[in-house]
């Protein structure tokens, strides 16, 4: 993989050019998409369920943006090897660049999506604090976690295409089981400890809470939670790379 940064860079460039290339708004969709998604949840939660969280649009936007990054890049990474099957049967190259490039391309689009965050902030300027400068730090933790999971799923998907289909539903459930539309405090208000434990086990517990802390609550992120997620992700990444390397020779044979 080292020495192939150039290949990864070209693949990332191709990926960014390909996405939304056929639409009238083009790359602008990176900004419009999360804003529309936020609007949908605002209607659902505030209008229909009548919840009274102050500045709710900013509250959920702090979760929508990183989740969109996670879910799109994970799906892209999962199918990245299978999508290149014609090439894999003709050229010998380290296949791990494919999921890595897919996830890196998604990361760049996340950075573009931060423009949308700027737009939302125009309405909630009083909640803007220097803490937002820590978004990249939280992003790095999420990147490592996504990388580990994406490399693993890309390998499994080569053998079982079912993964792509199952993943869609798992991702949706995962989103609702993460403190995105609500905070951990709200979900466990009744002293419901199993739910609290579940939310704590979920890497997106600390991740979402940290994003929300720096974007919405003007406080420091959950440092300990982030550190735990980072360490677990690094271990998972090591396992994912080992598994990928182990099954890689079989790719050309089964695709």
């Amino acid at each position: 993989m080292l020495g192939r940064q150039r290949l990864i860079r070209y693949l990332v460039g191709a990926d960014l050019k390909r996405t939304h290339a056929d639409t009238a708004f083009g790359q602008l969709w990176w900004v419009i998409d999360p804003l529309l998604q936020m609007a949908v949840y605002v209607v659902l939660v505030q209008v229909i369920f009548q919840r009274k969280t102050p500045d709710y649009p900013l509250f959920i936007f702090a979760a929508i943006l990183p989740w969109k990054w996670f879910s799109t890049t994970l799906s892209d990474a999962t199918s990245s090897v299978v999508n290149r099957q014609a090439l894999i049967r003709q050229v010998q190259f380290p296949k791990v660049v494919l999921p890595v490039a897919a996830i890196t391309a998604g990361t760049l689009s996340f950075l573009i999506g931060l423009i949308a965050l700027g737009i939302v902030y125009l309405f909630y300027l009083d909640r803007l604090s220097p803490w937002v400068l820590l978004i990249p730090v939280i992003g790095v933790v999420q990147y490592v976690f996504t990388l580990a999971l994406g490399i693993l799923l890309a390998a499994v998907d080569t053998f079982y295409r079912d993964v792509q289909n199952i993943l869609r539903h798992i991702l949706r459930l995962w989103f609702y089981l993460s403190p995105a539309l609500y905070s951990i405090g709200e979900a466990t208000a009744g002293g419901n400890s199993p739910v609290r434990a579940l939310l704590r086990l979920n890497p997106f517990g600390p991740l979402f809470e940290s994003y929300r802390a720096v974007i919405y609550s003007e406080t420091s992120p959950d440092w300990i939670g982030l550190l735990v997620v980072l360490l677990v992700s690094l271990v998972l990444l090591g396992i994912a790379l080992a598994v990928f390397k182990r099954v890689e020779p079989a790719f050309a044979r089964i695709l």
């Binding site: 150039r6 290949l7 090439l87």
Partner: protein, 287 residues
Amino acid sequence: MAARVAPKPNVLAQSAPMPSPSTRPPAIAVHELGIRYNLRLTRRTTLKDSLPGLVRRDDGVPKHFWALRNVTFRLEHGESLAVIGPNGAGKSTLLLALAGILEPSEGFVETDGRVSTLLTLGAGFESELSGRDNIDLVAAFLGIDHREMAALTPSIIEFADIGQFIDAPVKTYSTGMKARLGFAIATAITPDILLLDEVLGTGDQTFRAKSQTRIRELVGKAKAIVLVTHDLTYVTEFCNRAILIERGTIVREGEPQEIVDLYRTRVEERKLLAEAKARSVASTASA
């Protein structure tokens, strides 16, 4: 040749007999090569198909298929080898193994020098990228150093005859333009070991003539050639040795003319056998 991955000796097993340091290693050494496909996992597997197999292992269906088995040969520098045989004999699988794309299930393949690509025309192109960017992308996939490729790019563009379209997205190209660009990239690098699966013929009459000339150039420059073809005239024209493969194993190795004659006889025999069988089936059916 920095950053190039393929040229290092492709050692895939430790049992290789080490050549004495004074003699040059052969261009290609293949020893007891076997390539096995796992039929349970091949092509569009879903969990539903493989679950019964995971639970119950012995259902009479063969789990494996040996596309190649016990294949052994050496090719010295300066030699060119033709591989002939009926469809499905394992010829293309052999090329994939020589190119390092398929790892041996048993035995080993060693190559000495830069092995050519098996890239067919236009595979790996990104339709949103310009022709120029696609040259870079494909080169990066092939592991060709980007400085080397930058030096080659003008001649690729000229050979492909794309003109100013080279900076337009590939999705605007005609099929012929894509094929020409693909061919120009795939043949831009002069390999030490040239692998040819059929002789590439592409595009209109003029380009086909041009591409034949380019292939002949590569054949002239390469230090070793392996050619897989159905066109038996190429075998005697280009090659000084030939092997006949049937059902994944080498039937005979020898002079091109001898092997071509053997192949022709066996094809004839098989045809007569099939006709006789058809006749006997027809007579039993009518009786």
